[in-house]
């Protein structure tokens, strides 16, 4: 019954968008309650659908659109958990925004754009074909542009919005190229499609992957990965994410936790069979993810802006998710479960951290951690909820992040024993740094002495309420959901007509032992349960994992937290950071400058290469293209200068011309009749 109304999950936020846009300024608080209600209705519908189809059904509705394309809704386990997460987290963020944006003159515009943002993300999740996904993907990009540049009168916000839009555009072009390539390859197969089947539908893609040439598969996978890299802020297209902090904090929370950056990871998970079948496809994913995880974590160490620390942490955690998918080369579809589990868990604690940071910023009125200190004395609730979020992010035992992130590290170890240890080493190092920078932030904001004179008050309950709810999830979600989650997502691809063993042979992974469970999942719930059992066995009690590998993530997390405490917690402080690394220290400077990416990308690349090329193009444009046209128009003008003399202004001349014309016509026609032409 709920499934029939699945389209409302997107339609209601769109309605809220229209209402807020056109009549929002007549409503109290810019009509923010409409956005909350629409998203909340989506949450209720998603829960209803969950109760209907869990654990072994999927929903697939589709109708023709134009030519070879359709619009449709596909809710399988992967889409379902994403739907639940997005509607839940975004509802809380919208509630919080009602407090946070209160009094802003653009509140109606904010809630309209936020509603459209939500609608686009939800549409992206349950699209049943790549084209529809791409359209919503672009809408998400547009909304992020609008929201990051929400305070568009501030030049830095306008610049950040442009940067986000253009950077993700680079990835989107690759994504589109990948889609076109995939469509071409599928069209060339001359498939006999049943009625209601379309080329770009996911089930059709899955079913026919094995027939596409492997080198084409690699190209397509790289194109799609390009899109994911742009959207999910992976190296080298991560530069927009830290700057995206220019928008309101609620926007940062939405972009970083629930709606935007997860789209890239979702895309790779959605197209996992393709990446699996493409030779080297997952290797590239793992390399990009692992490198980004470490790279961003190092930059998080030195930043002074509380939101930038969180932004680098998002980039780093997205790297973890990508790497988690990438090591699927070794562990099969289990990787999807592990990676999406981290995505969901991350969205809880990252939304929590951002909203806490927003609460602090709301009170203190600065983003700079050097001006905070001792905030915990005045903001008890914010302090403890943020502590939960931080422990979760750092991977402290029994918090959500511990279950999800450490699982990724463990399967990376398995990948290491079979293929390559590099991703594992990168991820472990990144995990150490994660714990350090998280608690560096927490200690320097909430403990110690007040380093400046700031507003000393707790935030209102409309803001604290969502914090508490999110904190509960950041605390308990991992522990409660862990067991069922992997098995449920592992069964995802069992609903489709595809054989991972066959795909694995194409992709060069001859590891049937890890792959078989997912393929068996086709037989339904019972088989899926069985698959779950084996999948867990592979991940947790795998024979290739000695005890020290299993407890290493715990040691890493606690070690990182202690390190941060020794440097930044005044009660146990043993070292002053400035004694270890002075301002002149080259490594510190390198990190603080963000590896000189700005200097390289803007200073060197943009100003030398791009500007130089533009200059040459400009010259060609003016001299050649414009020059030719200008010459032509000058010719016409010169000719007209002579011809215009005919216009004498003397009536007799006109009359003469008229009569002569008539005479000539008469003569010509008469002659023509004589000759017999007419």
């Amino acid at each position: 019954m709920y499934a029939d109304y699945a389209y409302l999950i997107v339609a209601l936020p769109v309605l809220a968008f229209l209402l807020c846009l056109f009549v929002g300024w007549h409503l109290p608080r810019g009509g923010g309650f409409l956005t909350v209600l629409a998203t909340f209705a989506g949450l209720i519908l998603s829960l209803g659908i969950f109760s209907e189809i869990y654990p072994d059904k999927i929903i697939h509705q589709s109708m023709p659109w134009f030519a070879n394309f359709n619009v449709g809704i596909l809710i399988d386990p992967l889409a379902l958990v994403m739907l639940l997460m997005v509607t839940f987290v975004v509802t809380l963020i919208h509630i919080y925004a009602n407090g946070y944006m209160n009094g802003d003159p653009g509140a109606a515009r904010y809630f309209a754009e936020a509603a459209l943002f939500t609608a686009s993300m939800l549409g992206l999740i349950f699209a049943d074909n790549l084209l529809q996904l791409f359209i919503f993907w672009e809408l998400v990009g547009l909304c992020s542009y609008l929201l990051i540049g929400f305070w568009y009168r501030k030049p830095s916000a306008a610049a950040a919005a442009k940067k986000a839009f253009l950077t993700t555009r680079v990835g989107d072009v690759l994504f589109l190229a990948g889609i076109i390539l995939l469509y071409n390859n599928l069209a060339n197969l001359n498939l006999a499609l049943k009625p209601g089947e379309y080329l770009l539908q996911f089930p059709v893609i899955y079913a026919n992957l094995a027939q596409i040439a492997p080198d084409q598969l690699t190209l397509i996978a790289l194109g799609l990965l390009g899109g994911a890299v742009g959207k999910s802020g992976q190296f080298p297209l991560h530069v927009w994410l830290p700057d995206a902090m220019e928008g309101p904090t609620t926007v940062s929370a939405m972009i970083h936790a629930a709606t935007m950056v997860t789209a890239g990871v979702y895309l790779v998970a959605r197209m996992f069979p393709l990446f699996y079948a493409a030779p080297h496809g997952l290797t590239v994913v793992a390399a990009v993810g692992a490198f980004t995880a470490l790279f961003a974590a190092t930059m998080g160490l030195t930043s002074f802006d509380i939101k930038r620390v969180l932004a680098f942490s998002t980039v780093s955690q997205l790297g973890f998710m990508m790497a988690g998918l990438g090591v699927g080369a070794a562990v099969g579809t289990l990787a999807v479960g592990v990676s999406i589990f981290h995505l969901i868990g991350h969205s809880f604690f990252k939304a929590l951290l951002f909203l806490c940071a927003g609460s602090v910023i709301h009170a203190v009125n600065t983003n700079d951690m050097r001006e905070m200190g001792g905030v915990g004395k005045y903001m008890r609730w914010t302090m403890y909820t943020m502590l939960i979020g931080s422990l979760s992010l750092a991977g402290f035992p029994l918090f959500t992040g511990y279950f999800s992130k450490d699982e990724i590290i463990l399967i990376a170890y398995e990948y290491g024993t079979l293929i390559n240890f590099l991703p594992y080493i990168f991820l472990v190092l990144a995990a150490v740094l994660t714990a350090i920078y998280t608690f560096r932030m927490w200690f320097s904001v909430f403990t110690g002495k007040e380093r400046s004179d700031y507003g000393k008050h707790e935030s209102p309950w409309v803001m604290l309420g969502p914090l508490v709810i999110l904190a509960v999830f950041a605390l308990g979600f991992g522990y409660v959901a862990q067991d069922d989650f992997y098995s449920y997502l592992d069964s995802n691809f069992g609903h489709y007509d595809l054989d991972f063993v066959e795909l694995g042979v194409i992709g060069g992974h001859a590891l049937e032992g890890h792959v078989a469970p997912a393929a068996e999942g086709e037989q339904g719930a019972a088989a899926a349960e069985g698959a779950a059992g084996e999948g867990e066995a592979g991940a947790e009690e795998g024979p290739g994992e000695p005890w020290y590998i299993q407890i290493l993530p715990i040691i890493v997390a606690i070690g990182g937290i202690l390190t941060a405490a020794f440097f930044y917690w005044d009660k146990v402080k043993k070292f002053d950071p400035s004694q270890v690394t002075g301002d002149k220290d080259p490594i510190r400077k390198l990190l603080l400058k963000g590896y000189y990416q700005h200097e390289i990308m803007t200073g060197w690349f943009a100003e030398t290469v791009v500007y130089g090329t533009a200059l040459i193009c400009n010259t060609i444009d003016i001299k050649l293209v414009d020059g030719w046209l200008n010459w032509l128009s000058a010719l016409v003008l010169g000719f007209a200068q002579h011809v215009r003399k005919v216009q004498t202004g003397i009536v007799q001349n006109y009359v003469t011309a008229l009569v002569l014309g008539v005479v000539v016509l008469v003569v010509v026609i008469t002659l023509a009749k004589e000759v017999g032409l007419v």
Binding site: R644, K645, V646, Q647, T648, G649, I650, V651, Q652, V655, T656, V659
Partner: protein, 100 residues
């Protein structure tokens, strides 16, 4: 009955006089008169042919044509008056603002 040729002769004579006037005269009012001559020579033709070929269509058209000529004269003289107010003359050689 007067032969048709004479009517045609009259009409073409009037037409030629009108045309000659159009070529040679500079005075705006005279030009208007010449145009009336042209129009009425055509009317004579219409009426004459209509009488010789029993059919009233020609005469009806002549009536239309006269009404049209009246309207045209009205507009024409209005323009001439406006021109006179602007330039103080209706000698068309002096009125050449619309040239290149």
């Amino acid at each position: 009955m007067i032969p048709l040729e004479l009517y045609i002769l009259l009409a073409s004579t009037m037409f030629t006089i009108g045309l000659y006037g159009l070529f040679t005269q500079k005075n705006g009012v005279k030009l208007m008169m010449c145009i009336e001559l042209l129009l009425n020579s055509a009317n004579i033709n219409l009426v004459a042919f209509s009488a010789y070929q029993p059919n009233v269509n020609g005469q009806v058209f002549a009536l239309f044509s006269i009404a049209l000529a009246a309207a045209e004269a009205g507009v024409g003289f209005a323009i001439l008056i406006a021109l006179y107010r602007l330039y103080g003359t209706i000698d068309l050689d002096n009125i050449n603002a619309m040239r290149w």
